[in-house]
């Protein structure tokens, strides 16, 4: 079993950075040649380059209702950062499952099959209503299941027909060459029993939160997947604060508001902690830290080599 290590690019983080309307003006005595054409996308590209150049395996873009659309961001970066997986999260309320699958196919064709599909957990009812999503609470799981069934169906079968509560297709399915690239791996998340059950049937990688009880959660996921006759990989959304020493990390942790479950410590300590999680069966880790450009370099240069060296010394599934 191999380990994939991704970096989180949160399009809503560091909101003033390279946002032309929000960046700090330079004093008048300095000639400022920046123009409106330089914007957030240059920053995203820089984070993506940092991620690629420091040997992460991919970039994970969580869905943000009040910021740039993640699939557009992933596509805009794809051709200038080669080799990096681009996992874009979006809600199942995006519209036609056929259309979403078709867009995924074009991405795969244009970017050598590097797309990942992460489906965002459903928002609260009022946030859904603001996006024109009128599906009731009780129907959300069914809508997600139908969305993924149809998206997979049109990609893998021809003709494909389906009549559900939310989606309907007749004589559908992609023809050659659109059906050639692999369907993007589907990432789902949530620590609840219901979330695990959906992943067991429709997901490829289930992303646990950093506060989940991993041994029992992974066991539950594996059991549910086996019952469905499938395999689902265990992944982890893991915030980290890693510094040269444990003391320095503890000092920084004390003055920062860290997300729950953040791993805090020296590069060696955090690498050891992550290796323990990998030994529990985690095969996909999405690391996150702020600010995301500087931390991509810090962790890419100092944490990843230590983690990989540990895993190489003690092969996981020997």
């Amino acid at each position: 079993m191999s380990l994939s290590i991704h970096w989180q690019l949160d399009v809503a983080a560091e909101p003033a950075r390279n946002e032309p309307s929000a960046r700090t003006a330079l004093p008048g005595l300095i000639r400022d040649l920046r123009h409106a054409g330089q914007n957030r996308f240059d920053y995203y590209a820089q984070v993506a380059q940092a991620t690629a150049q420091t040997a992460f395996d991919g970039l994970y873009l969580p869905f943000r209702a009040q910021a740039d659309e993640t699939r557009i961001v992933a596509s805009a970066l794809a051709r200038e950062v080669r080799g990096l997986a681009l996992i874009a999260e979006f809600p199942a309320s995006v519209g036609s499952a056929v259309y979403a699958a078709k867009q995924a196919v074009t991405f795969q064709r244009g970017a050598q099959g590097r797309l990942g599909w992460a489906i965002a957990p459903d928002d609260a009812p009022n946030a859904r209503a603001a996006r024109g999503d009128t599906v009731s609470d009780g129907d959300l799981t069914l809508r997600l299941a139908e969305f993924l069934t149809v998206a997979h169906g049109v990609h893998s079968q021809r003709p494909f027909s389906f009549k559900g509560d939310f989606f309907e297709v007749e004589q559908g399915g992609f023809a050659d060459p659109l059906n050639r690239p692999a369907f993007p791996p589907v990432y789902l998340r949530g620590d609840s029993e219901e979330a695990l059950a959906v992943s067991a049937r429709h997901g490829d990688i289930h992303l646990f939160s950093a506060t989940a009880d991993l041994p029992s959660s992974i066991a539950a996921l594996t059991a549910l997947a086996e019952k469905a006759g499938r395999q689902v990989a265990a992944g982890l959304l893991q915030p980290v604060l890693a510094r040269e020493s444990d003391e320095e990390a503890a000092q920084d942790a004390a003055r920062l508001a860290l997300p729950p479950g953040t791993l805090v410590g020296s590069f060696d300590t955090v690498a050891a902690d992550l290796a323990v999680l990998v030994a529990l069966g985690v095969s996909h880790i999405v690391l996150s830290a702020s600010p995301q450009l500087e931390e991509a370099y810090r962790l890419g240069q100092h944490l990843l080599p230590r983690l990989r060296a540990r895993l190489a010394a003690r092969p996981i599934a020997a």
Binding site: P91, Y99, A129
Partner: protein, 385 residues
């Protein structure tokens, strides 16, 4: 007055000559030694290029040769125009991405968020060709079972919402197809220019929605008198709503140094059409009024390319040579420019031009035809008065 001229990105492959319909650019037909994007390298191995690399070439040629941008069509067998636009946004400079889109396929709020992001990625170069679907089997292929006129109602509401969340921070809407409660894009996305809307569709329902929402009404080429009447109808309807709408023509050109050379390519292309293509050409279906209007003016059977000459310089068999509209312009550079001038005189404010192969023809039309535009215009206007 200035005229807006776009090119087209072929989204299901291209061929190296109008004379042969086999797609030897892109992977829509079996790859051979003469194919490219993807193709084979000198050692006979796959060269690693993908069709998007060829589309990038066409977009760069078009923006360099004088076109504002290009229409990016969307059909069941094509790549997707949103993704193509985003993939190419950062490596092109002035090319405007005209995304063909059927509004029912995307949640309007998510679509507005994506469009605003695309504006940010491209420096405001996204615009839309809103289509509502030709009906028939293709709509069900897409998972869309709405009836023709219902689809126009949905398009209209979709555009209300798409614009509403873009222009208002707090937007609510209670429609038949869409309901939004306190929606709205965040300020930094709303600050982007609202994308231009080009609207297609020839039915009454289409013209009505277009009059309310479109900046440009886009028509395939039809015989000029028929087209002039349609343009007049569009402008009249729009004026009645206190709005203004421009009109544009989507048309292919076979422009050559001499007229004889142009028709020779048509003749050769016609002779190479396969029997299967001829058969499906005879039996086109769907509930698209636009297709029917074009079909009505050309013969249903043709044994010789001359049978499809429907007027001087107009040929009605382009859809035998490649997918898309039937009627196109054929002639010398001078004659092609004259035809475009005539259309300008009839009221055309813009064009989406195309030619096969799209890459080389972007340069040819940009270098040889566009510089000749406007020479006949003043005369024609006087003649028309």
């Amino acid at each position: 007055m200035t005229i807006d001229i776009f090119w087209r990105l072929p989204t299901h492959g291209c061929h190296s000559s109008i004379r042969r319909a086999s797609n030897d650019r892109g992977d829509w037909s079996v790859t051979g030694a003469h194919h490219l994007a993807p193709g084979l390298d000198g050692a006979g191995e796959e060269d690693g290029y993908a069709y998007i690399d060829h589309l990038a070439q066409i977009a760069k040629a078009a923006e360099s040769a004088g076109f504002q941008g290009g229409l990016i069509p969307s059909f069941p067998m094509t790549d997707d125009p949103w993704v193509i636009s985003a993939l190419l946004a950062r490596e092109t400079r002035s090319f405007r991405f005209m995304i063909a889109f059927q509004p029912g396929f995307g949640n309007p709020v998510q679509s507005a968020q994506a469009a605003a992001s695309l504006q940010r990625a491209s420096g405001g170069r996204a615009l839309f060709n809103i289509i509502t679907g030709g009906g028939g089997p293709a709509q069900l292929w897409w998972g869309d079972s709405f009836a023709h006129d219902d689809r126009y109602g949905r398009t209209s509401e979709w555009l209300d919402v798409f614009r509403g969340v873009w222009e208002q921070g707090d937007f609510s809407y209670d429609g038949r197809f869409y309901q939004i409660t306190h929606g709205g894009l965040p300020p930094h996305l709303r600050a982007e220019a609202f994308p231009e809307m080009w609207f297609s569709g020839s039915s009454e329902a289409a013209l009505e929605v277009s009059a309310r929402h479109a900046d440009y009404y886009l028509s395939w080429l039809e015989p000029f008198d028929q087209l002039a009447a349609k343009f007049a109808r569009v402008k009249e309807r729009t004026a009645a709503l206190g709005r203004q709408q421009k009109v544009a023509v989507r048309v292919d050109l076979v422009a050559r140094k001499t007229e004889e050379e142009a028709w020779r390519d048509i003749a050769s292309g016609f002779d190479n059409v396969s029997q299967a293509t001829r058969d499906s050409w005879r039996n086109q279906r769907g509930d698209s009024v636009g297709s029917a209007r074009q079909a009505a003016v050309r013969p249903t059977e043709a044994t010789h390319w001359r049978d499809l000459k429907i007027a001087p310089g107009l040929w009605g068999g382009f859809n035998l040579l490649r997918g898309g509209p039937a009627i196109g312009i054929v002639g010398s550079y001078e004659q092609c420019a004259e035809k475009l001038d005539e259309l300008i005189a009839l009221g055309a404010d813009g064009f989406i031009l195309a030619g096969t192969p799209h890459l080389e023809e972007a340069w040819r039309v940009g270098e040889e035809v566009l510089p000749l535009l406007g020479r006949h215009n003043a005369d024609l206007r006087e003649a028309a008065e």
